[in-house]
Symmetry: C2
Subunit: 256 residues, 2 copies
Amino acid sequence: MRREQTVSGASQAGRGRPPARGGSARGGGPGGGGRRRASHSLESVVSEAVALLDEAGEQGLTFRALAARLGTGVGSIYWYVASKDELLERAADQVLAGVLTQTTHLGGDEDPIDGIRQIAIAFYAATVNRPWLGSYFLQDTGTQINGLTLYDRMGRETMRLDLTPRQRFDAVSAVMAFVVGVAADRGQDPPQEVRDGTIDRDVFVASFRDQMRELGADDFPFLHHIADEFAAHDDAEQFRAGLDLLLAGIRQQAHR
Amino acid sequence: MRREQTVSGASQAGRGRPPARGGSARGGGPGGGGRRRASHSLESVVSEAVALLDEAGEQGLTFRALAARLGTGVGSIYWYVASKDELLERAADQVLAGVLTQTTHLGGDEDPIDGIRQIAIAFYAATVNRPWLGSYFLQDTGTQINGLTLYDRMGRETMRLDLTPRQRFDAVSAVMAFVVGVAADRGQDPPQEVRDGTIDRDVFVASFRDQMRELGADDFPFLHHIADEFAAHDDAEQFRAGLDLLLAGIRQQAHR
DNA sequence: GCACTCTATCGAACATCGTTCTAGCGTATG
DNA sequence: CATACGCTAGAACGATGTTCGATAGAGTGC
């Protein structure tokens, strides 16, 4: 019995909205009998939107492109969704739902901080190759039900630590902010040529490293210092390294 | 002798670009002799763009709105800027430049980690009430000269800590990602009514807290647990709290 | 079977945005 | 005076989000 949109209030229901049709796993295709007109569902609309976002990025999600993919007209989409913002919210929420099902078994009996770590990593994994999520995650977190659930799940781990409510609130918010910040980074770094495959990623990174070296050890000693590390680093590893720093701070605070 | 755009390569110079007119502090107004036609400058264009972004947000920055503000036509803007992306990059870079001048005196003789802290706080302060920066900060960080300078300035502090180059790289990246994550959060939380001033912020927060309580202590124990903290918290304080957790982790790593 | 209602589909039409194109002004240079 | 070039300016184009009205299908009452 999960409720729908308790906190949301994102839109005031422009004309009407479908009765949310229980969890029928119908999939969404017109598959049925001999219907001539296409039949859709909120699920299929959002799912195709996510697919489109994954393939072409945020600017690739167009109402017309989505309509063509669904084999329908533009107007039909507006029956299920009041605006593009709501479409993106629902898309982000659907991905969050996936993260939730992957993390249901996590946490509980082990080290609480390790539970946070695993949830955060699962969260991060969902953002990889999904740049569009970065921008909408925290917006979603505070609004939609799945975001709140994830937030709560992580927070539940902190309740087993010796911290004040305030410290728990700050800790969970910090971890969330860190994940979103990394996600925002990932999506925006490669400047088009790399994403298209026009230029190989390694070549780009190498030339970037050379440019970092050219900046000179005098004016930019740190960049010069880490040029090699930059060229060799792995994003996922760096994420875990930063996360562990944050978690070490939390652990230290709890042991005091 | 600072160089211009060594690493950038953002645009291939559509038709031509002004000779960057040295650091003349002219401001940008047509002020001069008896010119009849309006005269602009890259500085004035970017400055007005920042002002427009601050007032109306990212969606408020329109080429037409910007042109009207400058008292010119749309086409004129394209003489200074090749695309809206470049305009946003330059806007973000200008704000970064402001952060840099405010942090020049920081770091050096005190505790290195405290230097990082102060730079990060100044960085954060620039993002307050500037939601549009969150999305473009890291893109800018890796591309424009001011972003690299800020990155380097923070990294220089880590070089005085007993860490490997890799650990320094990870630490600075983590702090940057955290700041951006918090910034992305700040900008997207208030859902329109609050930003317009239609609803008082306190009223909104209070009703949100009540909704968090309604979610129930059974399904969302953590949200129930921190409902009061949420209503009473201050964003800047929470940022510092999270930052200190991260810095504590870095300090611990350096002392090992 | 028939009229009627409600849900849902669909595409034309509109406003707005980023961007391009071309005409032309004004200044400097010969 | 004539020519070249830096820069201004707005009309025009294609794409996008959104609205609106027409209409088909399924269910309902008689």
